[in-house]
């Protein structure tokens, strides 16, 4: 956009805003508060617990992209942080088997959760969630929106309660509702198809024939014999895969524990800004800074400086997370392997190794 056009657009926006300075009017779509949502907790352990793989969330592109955008830095943390928050809700519900957060999609997952962060500013959180089982059946595909108030933050000064906990619990409850309607046979079939899809990923020419694929849906056209040596090998590799997934999950837990307080602070701070109630101006007044004095101007600068230094801290933490993911030492069917690089790189190397191992041992 040319500078002239930019100014024109700005003037237009100012005129539009000017027309809004009329008596208070309710927004067109009021954000839903999910404060009252109660997590559906299982009274007894599930007979056939489905394993859940949550892939690292995607994020809708920020309007002001690039390096300067603090939003992008925070999104980078949130893409890893928010799936872990959902994992905790799913685990706490007791309705599912192991729940793991992974850097990429898990092709052999029984239940896959994908998420897109539509918006997150400490006041509102909007996520697009899709849940799909191994048969290709979509359990959920909807947007979730929750709002937080200043009270949500002030009632828990050490940030142990997530102000958007209701949103994660609502997603878990929606998943549980689908699961609860399923029969044992259906759940067993999901688990079998997940195994076969994993096997077909390693050896499509051999295991592909047990799967029938119609559009996006998968079914079984048969199963290999229980004593099939190739299937036994696949299962050994899959057990190793789960160990690797656990170590990837541990990285996300580490991020969650260490970055949690910083992220919570940012969100709280952002909430204060977005609520736009001139809190900063009020702080000046209460702290005895008379407007127009040097002290007041110094405080204006210090508030800006403080907010930017916190963005720097968040950026440094985010950068170091990817940089420092320690080499993963794991076991591949009895063979110790060491993987280095970022989690995504480690995951790609792992997949390569698995294929090699499968080919070598055929």
């Amino acid at each position: 956009m040319k500078p002239g056009e930019r100014l024109l657009a700005l003037c237009g926006l100012l005129m539009l805003l000017g027309s809004c300075a009329t008596p208070e009017q309710a927004p067109l779509s009021a954000p839903v508060s999910l404060d009252e949502v109660q997590l559906n907790v299982a009274t007894r352990p599930p007979v056939l617990p489905l394993a859940v793989s949550i892939s690292r969330f995607d994020a809708a592109p920020a309007e002001t992209g690039g390096l300067r955008s603090a939003v992008n830095q925070v999104r980078s943390v949130e893409r890893r942080f928010l799936p872990y928050q959902l994992k905790l809700s799913l685990e706490r519900s007791g309705w599912f088997g192991p729940v793991r957060v992974l850097p990429v999609l898990d092709p052999g997952a029984e239940l896959t959760v994908r998420g897109v962060i539509l918006s997150s500013d400490g006041t509102h959180l909007a996520l697009a969630i899709q849940v799909e089982d191994a048969t290709g059946r979509v359990w959920l595909e909807r947007d979730y929106l929750d709002s937080a108030s200043v009270a949500d933050y002030t009632r828990d000064p050490v940030f142990t309660i997530d102000p958007f906990q209701g949103l994660y619990d609502q997603i878990a409850n929606d998943m549980i509702r689908v699961l609860a309607d399923m029969g044992e046979q259906q759940i067993r079939q999901i688990a079998s198809i997940a195994e076969m899809r994993y096997a077909a990923m390693l050896s499509p020419e051999y295991f592909g024939r047990f799967l029938n694929e119609t559009g996006d849906r998968y079914g079984l056209s048969g199963l290999p014999a229980a004593s099939d040596p190739l299937m036994e090998r696949v299962m050994r590799i899959r057990a190793s895969e789960h160990l690797f997934a656990d170590s990837a999950d541990a990285h996300y837990e580490s991020l969650y524990r260490r970055l949690g307080p910083t992220y919570a602070w940012w969100r709280h701070y952002s909430n204060e800004l977005i609520s736009g109630n001139n809190r900063l101006e009020q702080m000046d007044a209460t702290r005895g800074a008379t407007p127009g004095t040097w002290y007041a101007l110094e405080r204006v600068y210090k508030i800006y400086q403080e907010s930017r230094m916190n963005e720097d801290a968040l950026r440094e933490l985010t950068d170091s997370f990817d940089r420092e993911t320690a080499p993963t030492v794991t076991d591949l069917a009895g063979r110790v392997v060491e993987l280095t690089g970022t989690l995504t790189e480690q995951h790609q190397a792992w997949r390569q190794l698995m294929r090699q191992y499968y080919e070598e041992t055929r």
Partner: protein, 226 residues
């Protein structure tokens, strides 16, 4: 029908007011580093070549007072000296001193961005590919190339304007950061020049790195230990 809440309107208006000067100042794209200037490296303050804040304040005060006196002498109409607020140069100078406090700069520059890390202060960051100002309710920030100089502009509430102008000596022996602070309503901006010289960190000393897992870890680096 209005799409915004009254509270949102106030916040947006505040942001737009902060943005307005940046729309004017960022008329030239930030992206054009036509002279291929590279600020990257480690820089420490050269006290000898930098402005000494108290002296600069005194010098500016004297200069502006002389200007004002001359203006009063030449004017046909009576001018109230208090209205010219010469004393404000002292406050402005002290504020500039605080804003330009960094003694060590660690500059990382690539083709598409620059990050100027400053000790005890926030990093000045410029995305050359994206000239859009970085805006929040507490202030707005933009950057632009002015020939071979890189300028960061901060537009803050209460009419406070800060700019940092970075320029590099041809032989890379010195980098100057001219920090100018203006306050709307005051006729005199104040500029403090801080000159930095390159240095190699960690020679025969500790090298420290921040990581999430270990926080800050320092190891002996540089020259061989005895």
């Amino acid at each position: 029908m209005c799409l915004f809440h009254d509270g949102h309107v106030r916040l947006l208006l505040r942001i737009l007011i902060l943005l307005l000067p940046l729309f004017v100042t960022t008329a030239s794209a930030a992206g054009a580093n036509r002279h291929g200037i590279d600020f990257s490296g480690h820089w420490e303050l050269d006290y000898q070549m930098s402005d000494f804040p108290s002296e600069k304040i005194r010098w500016e005060y004297t200069r502006i007072r002389a200007q004002v006196e001359k203006m009063i002498e030449r004017s046909d109409r009576p001018i109230n000296p208090a209205a010219l607020n010469v004393e404000s140069i002292v406050g402005l100078g002290r504020l500039t001193e605080k804003i330009a406090q960094a003694t060590v700069l660690d500059v990382e520059q690539q083709d598409d961005y620059i990050v100027v890390n400053r000790n005890d202060d926030f990093a000045l960051v410029c995305d050359f590919a994206n000239a859009a100002p970085l805006v929040s309710a507490v202030g707005a920030e933009s950057c632009e190339w002015d020939e071979d100089q890189l300028v960061f502009n901060l537009t803050l509430p209460d009419g406070l304007r800060v700019s940092h102008r970075l320029s590099l000596a041809a032989d890379r022996s010195r980098m100057n950061v001219a920090t100018t602070v203006k306050v709307i309503g005051l006729p005199y901006p104040f500029t403090l020049n801080r000159v930095y010289q390159p240095f190699e960190p960690g020679e025969g000393m500790y090298q420290c790195e921040f990581t999430i897992a270990t926080q800050t870890t320092c190891t002996l680096g540089g020259s061989e230990s005895p």
